[in-house]
Symmetry: C2
Subunit: 661 residues, 2 copies
Amino acid sequence: MGVNSNRVDHFVSHGTTTTIKIQTEIPMLQQTPLEIHKVRLPPHHTTVQKLRHRLSEIFFPDDPLYSFKNQSWCIKFVLGLQFLFPIFQWGPKYNLSLLRHDIISGLTIASLAIPQGISYAKLANLPPIIGLYSSFVPPLIYSLLGSSKHLAVGPVSIASLVMGSMLSETVSYTQDPILYLKLALTATFFSGVFQSSLGLLRLGFVIDFLSKATLVGFMAGAAIIVSLQQLKGLLGIVHFTSKMQLIPVLASVFKQRDEWSSHTILLGFGFLAFLLTARHISLRKPNLFWVSAAAPLTSVILSTILVFLLRNKVLRVAIIGELPKGVNPPSSNMLYFSGPYLALAIKTGLVTGILSLTEGIAVGRTFAALKNYQVDGNKEMMAIGLMNIAGSCSSCYVTTGSFSRSAVNYNAGAQTTVSNIIMASAVLVTLLFLMPLFYYTPNVILAAIIITAVIGLIDCQAVYKLWKVDKLDCLACLSSFFGVLFVSVPLGLGIAVAISVFKILLHVSRPNTLVLGNIPGTPIFRNLNQYREALRIPSFLILAVESPIYFANSTYLRERILRWVREEEERIEANKENTLKCIILDLTAVTAIDTSGMDTLCELRMMLEKRTLKVVLANPIGNVMEKLHHANVLDSFGVKGVYLTVAEAVIDISSSWKPQP
Amino acid sequence: MGVNSNRVDHFVSHGTTTTIKIQTEIPMLQQTPLEIHKVRLPPHHTTVQKLRHRLSEIFFPDDPLYSFKNQSWCIKFVLGLQFLFPIFQWGPKYNLSLLRHDIISGLTIASLAIPQGISYAKLANLPPIIGLYSSFVPPLIYSLLGSSKHLAVGPVSIASLVMGSMLSETVSYTQDPILYLKLALTATFFSGVFQSSLGLLRLGFVIDFLSKATLVGFMAGAAIIVSLQQLKGLLGIVHFTSKMQLIPVLASVFKQRDEWSSHTILLGFGFLAFLLTARHISLRKPNLFWVSAAAPLTSVILSTILVFLLRNKVLRVAIIGELPKGVNPPSSNMLYFSGPYLALAIKTGLVTGILSLTEGIAVGRTFAALKNYQVDGNKEMMAIGLMNIAGSCSSCYVTTGSFSRSAVNYNAGAQTTVSNIIMASAVLVTLLFLMPLFYYTPNVILAAIIITAVIGLIDCQAVYKLWKVDKLDCLACLSSFFGVLFVSVPLGLGIAVAISVFKILLHVSRPNTLVLGNIPGTPIFRNLNQYREALRIPSFLILAVESPIYFANSTYLRERILRWVREEEERIEANKENTLKCIILDLTAVTAIDTSGMDTLCELRMMLEKRTLKVVLANPIGNVMEKLHHANVLDSFGVKGVYLTVAEAVIDISSSWKPQP
């Protein structure tokens, strides 16, 4: 048997010596021991079974309790404890070598967390001490509940910025600092409740709707706004706008030119250059991570000493001033559950909650992937949520896993969440004994630290990659960027989510339909546009529908398929080929169908059959087949109306034409 | 060559005498003149070309100007005229025989339109005469612009109900009828503007998001509310609630029991029984359509005569009273473009606009499909929109194609939109000369007519079919039904749309993944669950991903695929089969991918390769292939990482293993 007949064999389902001349005429079969496979219905399930399956796919796709199966009660109890408190999982195996790594990384992130905590609290318009409180209690809670080994917990820039901007739109933090603090704590409480209930109800997929593309734009816009706002500190301006848009901030910078302070500017830009250089070195050589990790604390120490030494000279630089000593005071009495600002607190809580959750989960997953372990999204949500609820009762504002500090933690060799405990201990020592040392720390250093931290959020390369790969993603990214920059931070976020959802709906309502051709010598049918070697089969039009057939696209698909038929007929007429006789709809990629979709199929069949065109379906998948069956659509297509593959449909139908001419 | 070896041939891409024992061991190839096909990239297009293609698919999927191609200027002008005014298309071919049919059907629908017009105007809390005005101007405009031959244009129940309920929530139609009328006309104007701009901007797909399932529920709920509200007229109650929810309406009926009028009840239920019987007869025998078509006018005439004859007796029945004579007065001075109620008018216009558009287009398409001609959705929207704009300037409220009257029109043999002109003429005669005859028409008859008309909107069979075919569709249907019944009409509609969108998002964020097996003796791989004859290939796990890989599902898919791998490894261990070596991801149904999706693929590959599992892709389609290429994902998978078919992947990979053991 030669190569050629083998090829043909291949095209025919089970023929032995058949020949097909595809290019010139209708495929002909000289001998037809043709075995046409039946398209099967999936096994029958009751509604309850289907519902249970569907719900378990929605809420428990990872089958979280699989390790509990077939275990004794005693083991189940231990597993349950480990499930709730991951510390019991790695705790028993913990040893001194691991501790050594965790101490080093814990102290490293503490040196970063202390200046950043103070700075971020100022970003949220809160007293600096709140930032340190927030770096003490939440890390302790997370180390008990969290499943990521590398997450460094504490206040973060984006959530601080958003909280500051949303609350200060309504309440002035200078005129009514107590109310402002109450609202911040209440918002933290609600963000915690929101986060933990997302985890508890296993609705973690909500955060997936913040696509990476829109987040890139959102973060870059927020970073620019934050950096520009820091010009207040860097230039020493006293009267500054509280607005967050680009134009009022820039206007405010230039309007208050008489307030610019040369000492502050000198100090600020000097240390900013130092911090940026340190950051640059660490970026170039990742094993020099400690250079950028140590730089903030070094700057704080150096600048404090400088200001202290020159305190009697005419140095007009704003300083932090007195900070209270001692650990977190309880604050559950500060929560605010009624009154006119409750709605504002809830809204702020939701927005900062979802943002901090997104950051925390993304960071956790990034480092988990690098070390090849898994982070359970829903469990992480509960951990972060509980940590914020606890935080709101102990004078902490909203916290999550910080990207920059987690990266330092990872590079410093953290092995478990013990590094968070070490960090919290260092913060505790600071809170108890070292607070007076910050008296002379100039505010301008905090501004420089914030700028250095947020500048990393501007990811031009990611934008370029988006542009190269997906223009619509890039548009979403740019829209959220300009939305944040020119409109407002929450609205920018809203635009980002709306574009993401719109993109899905657009894709759903305008799906692709492809014309397929045969790849010579095989039973394979592929898109004519993608595979130039693929050939049309005379008298057939083979269309692949590339999406579920839904109410949202059924009208479009009907019109589009009719247009394909019309264009094919025009092409045939122009080329004087054999007339079109049969349309095969390849449903391989039709992953679902609803009642509107089935009506469309039936209408198409009716309309085309009135024009003596046969319509058959190829390869409907399980649930589509089942629905077609239940809706009696299969009956209208008839026994010979549904085929397992396009190839079988072509062979069977063209063989039935043979006697006609 | 026996049957058995033939089968094997089939499985191998191009082998000649190969044998594969699929069930027991790794597929082995004894001879491998194996031709593995390359997966091609689609031809290169520039960004501008792609954008143009994409926009034309979104806005011009039907290629509306295709008949203009390659035509002389003169013909293009004629075609353009026909495009804008379909009357020029069929006008020249119009003849007396067609006219005869159109006169009969036109008069038939006029006999229905006159009583329904009066009734529906009362449903919208407008003076009855407005309903007749609305049956005169809009049909004339539509007959010039519309492309459906069978649409009977005029006021409809749902839009009337919604307009009445939305406006009377804020403005009382008894205390301030002039303001109410102004708002109704303004809402009509805005609904026309909205409809025609949807058509002009070719955004017709917006109405597709009102899925059929949700509309079934919405209409049934609205029909029940409307019917219950008619108890006011049927029972002769004077003081009735203006609310639209089930509970206040029912409460109002029973609270005002002392106002029930026995004469009214007798008359009302008598004629209701007559109308329902007539409807029943026509439903049973469609060629007796004229029975139900003539019944309303007959009832009006009979009841008017009855009341007239008994007018001196003690018959306490509310009557219509005096109606002004004459054609539509101009009303452009009544439009209301400023002031506190503008937002209400716009909102009402949008909601009634989208509802009446949905009804009009759906009705047009239904009858077009029956007679096998096409209705251009965007053109219809412009026709309906312009007709409403013109209507708002000539004392008409919102109109569209009515389902019940169009069905009568179709059954009465209408051939063109001339039947609408005939109907409008009959209404004109009524307006000019016959208005005094309605003086004694009892209101209770209008209530009976409305009930008979809307009762057809309750489609229990459709609900049953939904339940049988798609439980989630049925849930959407029931939610919108109860939303309308217990909450409010616009909110019910909102719930309906939200559920439809949620259903899409749910489908997108929790897609199916299927395990494929080989159908013995073929190169076909199908879902193991659907095809019991399909067999697993030892050492391979073949997964088909059944959706685009997006930001919205990439996390889920990663977790789910890892779970499939885990479960497969457990199964293999339990059955003591060959260890798992390779995972093939069949991307046939992956119709799109974004940056998050590509990151997921890369992460999966990395994570599984760390566990010495090979990951390859099968059959990525054009745009997915292109994106994988641009993002350099293909490089990381390597040359042998992407195959045209699953079968080729299995053969090639298993043959590469041969030397190892």
